[in-house]
Subunit: 158 residues, 4 copies
């Protein structure tokens, strides 16, 4: 579920390197629309699962982050759809951290066809940004411990 990826870093605050978390989804009937492909809004949910599993893989479940009083609502989403994902196909989502700033985290998500015809084909690329707030919606600063946890590949500590 976890590997090493190369970010697009350079500017201060960008992550030169981030671990990668891989998640998979099967395109179910409920995910399709009458074009017979996964509806585009569904990809946002796959990105969300990618972020959640990315955090869990680093030992900081989003549930525990919320329990600590930090919410991470989505502030921005950008998706390019490249190839359709048909019914019953499987999609592989690679999630990594692209930028970690004091009050926001930007994730990148690469989605590829994971099975059958077109395996390996790029289906979509996305960037999603979450911002840190408290329960009342006021901006919060992300703790250093979270930064460290999210940017460290647990395999490095072996």
């Amino acid at each position: 579920m976890t590997g090493r990826g190369v970010g697009t870093g350079g500017a201060a605050g960008d992550t030169a390197q981030s671990p990668v978390t891989v998640t998979h989804h099967r395109v179910g009937y409920a995910d399709t629309d009458q074009m017979g492909r996964a509806h585009h809004a569904r990809y946002l949910v796959w990105c969300e699962v990618g972020r959640t599993e990315y955090m869990r893989s680093r030992g900081r479940s989003y549930r525990s982050i919320e329990a600590d009083g930090i919410l991470l609502p989505v502030a921005r989403v950008e998706i390019d759809f490249r190839a359709p994902l048909g019914y019953d196909g499987r999609v592989r989502v690679e999630t990594r951290v692209l930028r970690f700033r004091s009050r926001m985290i930007t994730f990148s998500h690469g989605m590829t066809v994971a099975e059958g015809t077109g395996e390996g084909l790029l289906a979509a690329v996305a960037r999603t940004t979450v911002v840190a707030t408290d329960r009342d919606g006021r901006a919060r600063t992300l703790p250093d411990s979270l930064r460290e946890a999210l940017l460290t590949d647990p395999r490095d500590s072996a």
Copy 2:
């Protein structure tokens, strides 16, 4: 949006007569699946909107009921699908109260094709039951004032 309907009452606690609230929905692309019709799970959301607007029409928005500390989670759902609803079609939902007990309310929902080919055709019938709980999930008794509000057609008071 509001009319008078006849329930199926008889047993104690059943409502011999309940007002009716009518809501409409357009079947959007996101609602369809690859059969080119509204996905069956979507009907539950239309029933939910029906219950919400039923309460609002009686002067008791669900939001205000929750603000008073009463939650109404869904305890049971039963739907019979009779005729498919195609993309871009319109559905008309008639919601009424079928039973009002001390701790639960059962709604009935009749869904018909509202436009175009097949207008008036029965698309689905549903019954949904909500139970009263507090924020911690403990059973609550529904206040008499709510019973009175939900079973009174505001046009009667004119």
Copy 3:
């Protein structure tokens, strides 16, 4: 993913015994509503995945059944919600065939908390019925080969 279950059979056409397929889902943020639990409409999607994986486990993917010209739209749904499923919880869905008639199949679905507090607790029970039609919505008879495939546990043939 596959085990043996005991049906509720008796009447002709009922399945005295059906294999069981087990699927799991994590309750994501998109699945929750403001009560902080999985929204009730989401359970229908889990049942749908259960039916799909049940068929796949028996060697007849729903995709291949559709390719043979048989569609299986949902005709009836019945769900009892017993215990809420909180955010980030895992649910285990046991799907079996309850009845296999010439033109319809009824599945039963038992959903339990799969992890953490309340593990093993019954979250919901459902019955879903699909009917066989052709692409134009006309009733079709289900082929015997499908009946045989769906009611045979592949482990029996070992």
Copy 4:
């Protein structure tokens, strides 16, 4: 439902001026997540309804465009979320055409709080791009008649 808006035009192919279509949505329970606000993926569906109603308002329903053999799958989505939309709130969506090229159309969507506290507050801005394909996914050129229909405010012809 229809007004006049000012685009951001300039470059060839950009629309100096596009009509505007306004749609409204009530944030239902199914739209919320456990933060008690509309889930971010839901906004994409509101944009989709915006595009659909924009086309219908210009006399070219998307259904009729599909019937003519032109599909308009979503190729790109960009959304900035500015202010949360709470349960039972109403959102107003202003949709206009930002760019009309030979094979793609970019829409802009401005979403504002439509009722109650914060009325008029900007909730989100989005750009969505659809591309023209045939049923087999091959690129198509958009007919001039469609361009003319979509960029003409019907009130102008009065």
